[in-house]
């Protein structure tokens, strides 16, 4: 019989489980129910955080200690390894957070196991089957493995976060000696530009393409105006900002740039593939390397001057052939009025 361990960690407050961890708990509960497996939940950080998932009636394990509060390879690997050995599970589910993405494969190796990541769905047909994408969201595959333990890193945003009654969880504390590490985590830094433009939980993604910094009908470049329009829209709509590679790259090529954009805003083949309910693309040609980053955007609209752009070829739901400067100025005015 299979046994499942869900490995979790705390959110940035350090008091409760992260949202991605709660999603992994949901995945664990559902898979355990499908295959009749036992369920254990382990946490790195604080045993008290498991009170939020006490209603799952899983077996609970925790590694505590100041040295394990920070996300760092050596300490996280040691803690996760100890939790896995304590639970002795054949299937280990982890949230696809930056913290566990950094360390999960190393832990799988230490346990003689195997890992698959970016899992978007888990089902039990002829054994456990996991769905993931290859080639930057261009090919979807269903995989299975006979070897155990099998580690599966579940992509954030693919499951409903677990929500249950708060209760006192009976937690087995797992003692781990702090491993030697040469790394000191000194903090978290926002991009130099200071403006928080990436909002993973936003309902909407707004993508700016290179057209914003090209010459406009008057023969001039209007980068400052573009920046005001884009930031104004982000403020009014609470959207997350994405960008095409070409627009971000302009910074390194000495061209006129939008000062708040970094490579972290980049969406597509060489950037992120975020999950939002809606997406609005502006001044972007919508060709395949870019659109692969939109795989998980459900409702897509685009504003483009080019009636033959990629978006019009079945990649967006609605395409407005128009000047984005004019349209976004009107949109911002309307959103301002609505506020």
């Amino acid at each position: 019989m299979e046994s499942i361990l869900v490995l979790t960690h705390m959110d940035e407050t350090g008091t409760v489980l992260s949202k991605a961890s709660l999603e992994a708990v949901t995945a664990g509960l559902e898979l355990a129910a499908q295959i009749g497996a036992s369920l254990a939940i382990g946490v790195i950080g604080s045993a008290a955080a498991l009170n939020g998932v006490a209603a799952t009636r899983a077996r609970f394990f925790a590694v505590e200690g100041e040295v394990f509060t920070q996300a760092r390879y050596a300490t996280d690997a040691a803690a996760a390894e100890a939790l896995c050995r304590a639970a002795g599970a054949s299937i280990v589910l982890l949230p696809g957070s930056s913290r566990f993405s950094r360390v999960a494969a190393g832990v799988a190796h230490r346990l003689g196991g195997f890992i698959d990541t970016h899992i978007t769905a888990l089902t039990a047909a002829a054994g456990i089957e996991a769905t993931r994408w290859f080639y930057r969201q261009r090919i979807e595959a269903v995989i299975s493995r006979d070897s155990r333990p099998w580690f599966l890193l579940v992509d954030a945003g693919t499951q409903k976060p677990y929500a249950g009654e708060y209760a006192a969880a009976e937690v087995e504390k797992v003692a781990v000696a702090a491993p030697a590490s040469r790394t000191t985590v000194t903090g978290v830094r926002a991009p130099e530009q200071g403006q928080q433009t990436i909002r993973p939980d936003a309902k909407m993604l707004f993508v700016a393409g290179a057209g914003w910094t090209k010459k406009q009908p008057d023969g001039q470049v209007h980068t400052s105006e573009a920046a005001e329009l884009i930031l104004g829209f982000l403020r009014a709509s609470s959207s997350s900002l994405g960008s095409s590679k070409s627009l971000v790259d302009q910074g390194g090529e000495g061209q006129s740039v939008l000062p708040f954009l970094t490579h972290m805003n980049q969406i597509g083949q060489t950037g992120a593939t975020p999950r939002h309910a809606k997406g609005l693309s502006t001044c972007c040609h919508g060709e395949e390397p870019h659109v692969v980053g939109w795989r998980f955007i459900a409702d897509r609209r685009a504003i483009s001057l080019d009636p033959n752009c990629g978006w019009t070829r079945g990649k967006a739901d609605v395409v407005y052939i128009a000047d984005a400067f004019a349209v976004m100025a009107k949109v911002n005015a309307l959103l301002g009025t609505r506020e």
């Binding site: 390879y73 433009t197 490579h263 060489t270 390397p289 609605v318």
Partner: protein, 270 residues
Amino acid sequence: MANAVHIVVCAGIVPDPLQTLEPVTGPTGPGLKNEMVLPAVLDPWAASALYEAGALAAKNPGSKVWLISLGPKAKLQQVMMTVAQKVGFELVPVDGPIGGFPDAHSTAAVLAETIAALPGLDQSKLLLFGGWESASRGAGVTLQLIGERLGITEQFQGVDQIDLREDGSFEVLERVEGGKHQVSVCASTPAVLGWATGNLAEPRNNPQVGMANMRTIMPALAKAKVAKLEANGLRYVSASQPKQQRVTRVEKNMTPDEIAAELVAWIGAE
């Protein structure tokens, strides 16, 4: 020479992003239709790692860069014609299968074995670079696994910056959620760094660098060892392209006012 580092960059080759990719199932599992004739490029995030490696080596005299790449020899040769003009490196090719479907654990085992056997590599000075995810398998696990096999437990993923200091320590910026960076200081090498985009633009082609590299690339390709990758129990149930093709409404005659009104209603709708 105090800060001389030995940088090993692991970089695969992937189909040019502009190509249409169609999965086909063969006797050993899924692959890409016409895979061997698709134009290939160096994996984009691994290419960022190579450019960062070149810049770091240039700033720290006595440093050396190795580029380890696993793929079919013929494709590696084709890609190297361009890559060799970017930065100076010693190519260590491994002749093996192309594509995103082979198991990452097997790939890591082959690469770790290759690195451990590199003549002249001082592992105490090692910075193991690569892309934090490939554009083919995109699993983000290969570097971690190599690191574990080599006994390196200072590992960083989603790296955008490294600042090597006089005392041999270095500061690393890793991507975390919400568009932020986690800042860490590592006291010394060795370490594993899986690069995101970094901060460097793609270097211009330099024919002189290209000629110097090619003197060693061609002999290295000629004697590349052959690697067979085990499946490790990995089984593909299916592999398919997404079917979704949207019915696009193209609006060519709406005024900015009309479009704005429609967009605002759409934004506010649940």
